[in-house]
Symmetry: C2
Subunit: 251 residues, 2 copies
């Protein structure tokens, strides 16, 4: 039996700035059935508050305390270890870390999905700090995301570039890190195997969730590409057309 649901946002609830067909109704049905929901996104181009506002404007009600983002995980990681970040993040996310800067020279490199800010100069700056021995923290490992009709490079390739250059491994602070799923599951007070993760990224969402002991279902909305289910099936995850179909199955 499934007693709790984790939902990815982009490609599951909305796409291209609009709710996906049936997404609003699916949320209402889950809530009516008393099944608690948490929202887990690897999006690091805007703040958590901005995500919640955008979703509200298109009729998707996501309470901010139920939204888990890598930026929140990264703040916690930095504060617990008293690390000062060197940021390579999207300009709109910088404010989330403003209070952690300036307490001394940087002691960790923090990577977000910086988009066009992933320049040769900015990557070189990170690389040189890594050579000096700073750890690399990466808010996700996603390979690409869907942007309109095309796929676009996400944070993962730039994490991989720096890992290759400096010969180290990044600490991943979003999906597919087990700790990230566990934080969301803990807030539900449920055992992981009673919770299902619904996502459109076979690797980050589903394989990640399954490795963390959750159940996982892939939806074919969003960035799904033909054959993605082959990554999931050996691990025991299921595949549905969209969130609506998933909710029908759960209820």
């Amino acid at each position: 039996m499934i007693h709790g649901v984790l939902l990815d946002l982009e490609g599951v609830l909305y796409a291209g700035g609009y709710p996906l067909p049936g997404a609003r109704e699916a949320l209402l049905s889950l809530r009516a059935a008393g099944i608690p929901i948490r929202f887990v996104t690897n999006s690091t181009r805007v703040t958590r508050a901005a995500i919640v506002n955008r979703l509200a404007r298109i009729g998707l009600d996501v309470p901010i305390q139920h939204l888990f983002t890598p930026a929140v995980a990264a703040r916690q990681y930095l504060i617990e270890r008293r690390l000062v970040p060197h940021l390579l993040v999207h300009p709109d996310l910088r404010g989330e870390f403003a209070d952690l800067l300036g307490a001394g020279p940087p002691s960790a490199v923090l990577l977000g999905d910086a988009g066009p800010e992933f320049s040769y100069a900015a990557l070189n700056q990170c690389f040189r700090l890594l050579l000096d021995g700073l750890p690399l923290l990466s808010m996700g490992a996603n390979r690409y995301f869907r942007e309109g009709e095309q796929l676009t490079l996400d944070i993962g390739p730039f994490m991989a570039a720096l890992e290759y250059a400096a010969e180290l491994e990044a600490v991943v602070l979003g999906k597919p890190a087990a700790a990230f799923f566990q934080a969301a599951v803990n807030s539900l007070n449920l055992p992981a195997h009673d919770v299902v993760m619904v996502g459109d990224d076979a690797e980050m969402d589903i394989c990640g969730a399954l490795s963390a002991g959750l159940r996982g279902v892939l939806v074919r909305s969003g960035k799904y590409r033909h054959g993605d289910e082959r990554r999931v099936e050996p691990l025991g995850g299921r595949v549905f057309d969209d969130l609506d179909a998933v909710v029908d199955y759960i209820l």
Copy 2:
């Protein structure tokens, strides 16, 4: 006995635009002893002719037909397979491939050390072509190079980024590919084990040469970093301070 020598350029013969101490004399001594030399560089920021001219201006005599570059190897690879390249290369290298463009839509992505041209937009363009099924050809896999007092990202991290994003493996057309060393060795009409590669990059120069059946010696000039010899020693390569010391040993 060593009957032929392959020399890397930057960090072995010159650095920062000047010959390294003893480099000119080392070339003269090898030539006086009748030991043939080939020059193998992974440099892809300028044409082969420009490299030869720059070296001549600082008193280093390198005949163009003895200089092996990944651009030459890439041209040959493209022509043999009738591939039209999509170029992400340094502007100064574009001319080397001008005659191969325009014969149709691109059928291979060709990566050079593009420096600041490694932009988010340019990498996305390559990524989308790779998703369409084009192969990735990379003129080298170097992690970094020395630029003045600091180390700078080379082609390898960007190759790694695209490999990660599109989940494929690049065809490497410079060092450490065995075929690249073999082309230089073949031009000497010597068996590989009679030829020594001298370089400052433990991985690309020395491990690459040893894997291709050559001998290899690492020099501590150039981008050498403390501990680099640990990559080489298990494979049987030796380490010297500079080219001068290597030539003393050979002769």
